[in-house]
Subunit: 264 residues, 2 copies
């Protein structure tokens, strides 16, 4: 495969749609991750999962049968918490009930001056969206933080609108532009690269989201390969904006190719 | 007032925020409408009200104490119903329970090929928005119809996200561009002008929404005056995109000015 002609010295993996779909492991992916580890390939998990806290993501992976360390897993939540505290932002959290735990150390007293928008799922209802609008409209210097730009994801066969789509509601209605923390932002990919001490041109991102995984990685010089699992759709192959460096049936196939060229 | 220097031969009135706020009549507005009628000024009500059917809007106005005929009241619903039937569209209706009655004569059998988005209020929840996305993503030639471009409105002092904001969610996630029926679309203003047989340059639009009422009217050559009731905000006076032809405290003040220049 042309995307593996140049050496790969580190791998970034998306989670949902690549390792699992909902609570179901995608065939071959546990073994694929284990083979990467066994061979000594540096791996980081670079996810926009925000419906549960970071530690719950780590726990989920291990419970499903993957063997990962917390430090290998990047989700936007901990970065957002850091930004909120550093900048003294008092957010209205438009997040799932479960994800609220991620922000328990953040001041959330009135007057609020910030909205944090994550994959809030059922919490994306009219009252909550109106409350978020109120914060953005009525405060002097409002901040809107969106944990990703995703349009939708597929889980258990069903389409689910993602955080990026709801950021559009609030941006349009309030006129406040969202700051994005998560894929496809360059800083997010670079943090994972820095952590494994691999240069962008030596790294590979594997994801099911053509724009946020593949396109986002390519924008910082990382090769981007799309799996034909998760939210992959045949129309992705004709996308006018993003051309993947390659496509594979699933993570297992990608790992076969990576290991064929790997020399530790 | 400069906006009344040139003769006014017909008046278009927005409803919510101009005549009433929720179920409360805005002071002086019943009398103001009555004075226009008594003087023989042609009046049409040009509203984006879509949370209740057209006839319910007419009934509400009369119940609140206004005296209006059904033919004077323009809401997007009846136009949308006509478009759906003419084009053989089978819609998923993202509308309030009450507004469903407007579309009872429209075929809604699977496979659906259209989404109608109106001021659905509490029906703007995650499951319904996901269902709308599914129709747009999975059908070959999907149509998305939005009953307005409104960002938000104020009712009983509270901000409520409007249909235009939710159109952004679905446009962004599905890549399907919304067709708008309602203000600020030129065809919508022109239908009301045609009905009262008044030329655009002889007409005045009075509304509380700077972009959809005032800007929309101006785009077809109608003068646009903003009331300082409803969703008016002081920041509207510095809006870089739309400059109202004038501002008045409320409808009563506008009618004082109109009648001072009126010669039947």
């Amino acid at each position: 495969m042309s995307w593996a002609r140049k050496a790969i010295r580190g791998v970034l993996l998306d989670l949902s749609g690549v390792l699992f779909d909902g609570d179901v492991v995608i065939e071959g992916s546990i073994d694929a991750v284990a083979r990467l580890s066994a061979a000594g390939v540096p791996v980081r998990f670079c996810s926009n999962e925000t419906s549960i806290p970071h530690q719950a993501v780590v726990d989920k992976l291990n419970k499903l049968g993957f063997s990962v360390r917390a430090e290998q897993v990047f989700t936007p939540g901990p970065c957002v918490r850091k930004v909120l505290i550093e900048r003294g932002l008092r957010p209205f959290l438009l997040v799932t009930k479960e994800a609220e735990a991620e922000y328990s150390s953040v001041q959330q007293t009135e007057p609020l001056n910030c909205v944090v928008l994550s994959d809030a799922q059922d919490a994306f209802h009219y009252q909550n969206l109106n409350k978020a609008l109120k914060v953005l409209i009525e405060c002097d210097k409002p901040t809107l933080i969106a944990l990703g730009r995703g349009k939708y994801y597929r889980e258990k066969g069903e389409l689910n609108l993602d955080v990026g789509a709801f950021a559009k509601v609030l941006e349009y209605a309030s006129g406040v532009k969202a700051e994005v923390i998560g894929k496809p932002e360059p800083t997010y990919f670079n943090a994972a690269l820095d952590d494994m001490k691999v240069a962008a041109e030596d790294a590979l991102m594997i994801g099911d989201d053509l724009e946020n995984d593949v396109g986002g990685a390519q924008a910082v010089g990382i090769r981007g390969v799309q799996v034909r699992t998760g939210k992959f759709m045949p129309r992705d192959e004709q996308n006018p904006n993003v051309t993947a460096d390659g496509r594979v049936a699933n993570l297992a196939e990608a790992v076969d190719v990576i290991l064929a060229q790997w020399t530790s």
